[in-house]
């Protein structure tokens, strides 16, 4: 099982917002036996999808120098379950960012209806605390982002496609 909970980036504006798509599939491991007779995507994995979009948005903004982790979910509301065949549209907007962390809000729509909304706070791991060095080996994160089509759509504030950083 890979830990990528967004299938594809559909939008990415540096320092502003990111959007992506998650398809819910009947053959996903996580659905197997999760709620027998009524499979649905665990809502915590919807949080993860939006956290991944937000975390990448924040990491890119700081030029991939920060070790970004999810620190808090202020509030997460779930209005309806995401079931096999659903295509979830995630949209995450950056609220604020400073030297130690960032906050963002995210929404999830399906068939034109809002089914979830969340408030996220990210922290940047301090040097020497918890782990030394980067969380990813060279090429790992870049490889995952390529699979998610990030570089197809990621632009800076002026609308110019962003360069694929060597740091990835």
């Amino acid at each position: 099982m890979r830990w990528m909970w967004v299938d594809r980036f559909t939008e990415f504006v540096s320092g502003s917002h990111a959007a992506g798509v998650k398809n819910v599939a009947l053959d996903e491991d996580v659905l197997d036996g999760y709620c027998p007779g009524f499979p649905y995507l665990p809502p915590t994995l919807m949080i993860e999808g939006m956290a991944q979009l937000g975390g990448i948005l924040v990491a890119q903004m700081f030029d991939w120098d920060k070790r970004v982790v999810l620190a808090k979910v202020g509030k997460a509301e779930f209005l309806a379950p995401a079931t096999p065949g659903d295509q979830l549209l995630y949209h995450v907007k950056l609220d604020s960012a400073q030297e130690n962390g960032a906050t963002a809000t995210g929404t999830c729509h399906c068939d034109g209806k809002l089914i979830a909304s969340i408030e996220l706070m990210f922290a940047f791991l301090e040097d020497g605390k918890f782990a030394d060095g980067p969380l990813f080996k060279p090429g790992d994160l870049g490889g995952m982002l390529r699979l998610m089509n990030m570089f197809h759509v990621a632009v800076d504030a002026d609308g110019k496609l962003i360069e694929i950083s060597d740091k990835l």
Partner: protein, 159 residues
């Protein structure tokens, strides 16, 4: 239940309080992505453990009469520490308030006495909402009791 986050139950007061354990195994394959240089349980997976603890606590509390026990709201979810392979979480879910079919739960997980995650969860006991003629609710209800026994079989529900 492939995504079950509870290895075993430690104690249970149906509808009131549930304590369970989850040990992170080094061979859980998503660890390769999270993170390659620092394999740790994803925060949301720890939250899922809290959520499942709350869910089973509520299900056992009303004798599995509700087809679904769904998360409506998660509040003040805080991640305090990481869980590394080989480490064990002790997960607690306690009912704080119950109003009709809405149950508010305080849930947290600890590692060696230190909290790694805590949250307030608002859960709803509800139907699948599928067309009545399909009888989905009854089918799901039938499965859930069996699923509990499969997962925690050796654990006896208090009389």
């Amino acid at each position: 239940m492939r995504y079950s986050q509870l290895d075993r139950l430690i104690s249970l007061e149906p509808g009131k309080r549930l304590v369970a354990e989850r040990t992170l195994r080094a061979d859980e394959d998503y660890l390769q992505d999270h993170f390659p240089n620092f394999p740790v349980m994803p925060g949301v997976m720890m939250l899922e453990a809290l959520l499942q603890a709350a869910m089973w606590m509520i299900h056992t509390g009303n004798d599995f009469q509700s087809p679904l026990v769904m998360l409506r709201e998660a509040k003040s979810v805080k991640f305090g520490d990481f869980l590394a392979p080989g480490e064990t979480l002790q997960i607690t879910a306690e009912t704080i308030k119950e109003e009709e079919n809405i149950v508010t739960v305080k849930a947290f997980a600890e590692k060696n006495g230190k909290t790694t995650v805590s949250a307030r969860l608002v859960m709803e006991k509800c139907s699948t909402g599928q067309p009545a003629r399909l009888g989905t609710d009854a089918i799901v209800q039938g499965h859930i009791r069996k699923k509990f026994a499969e997962l925690f079989g050796t654990f006896e529900l208090p009389a």
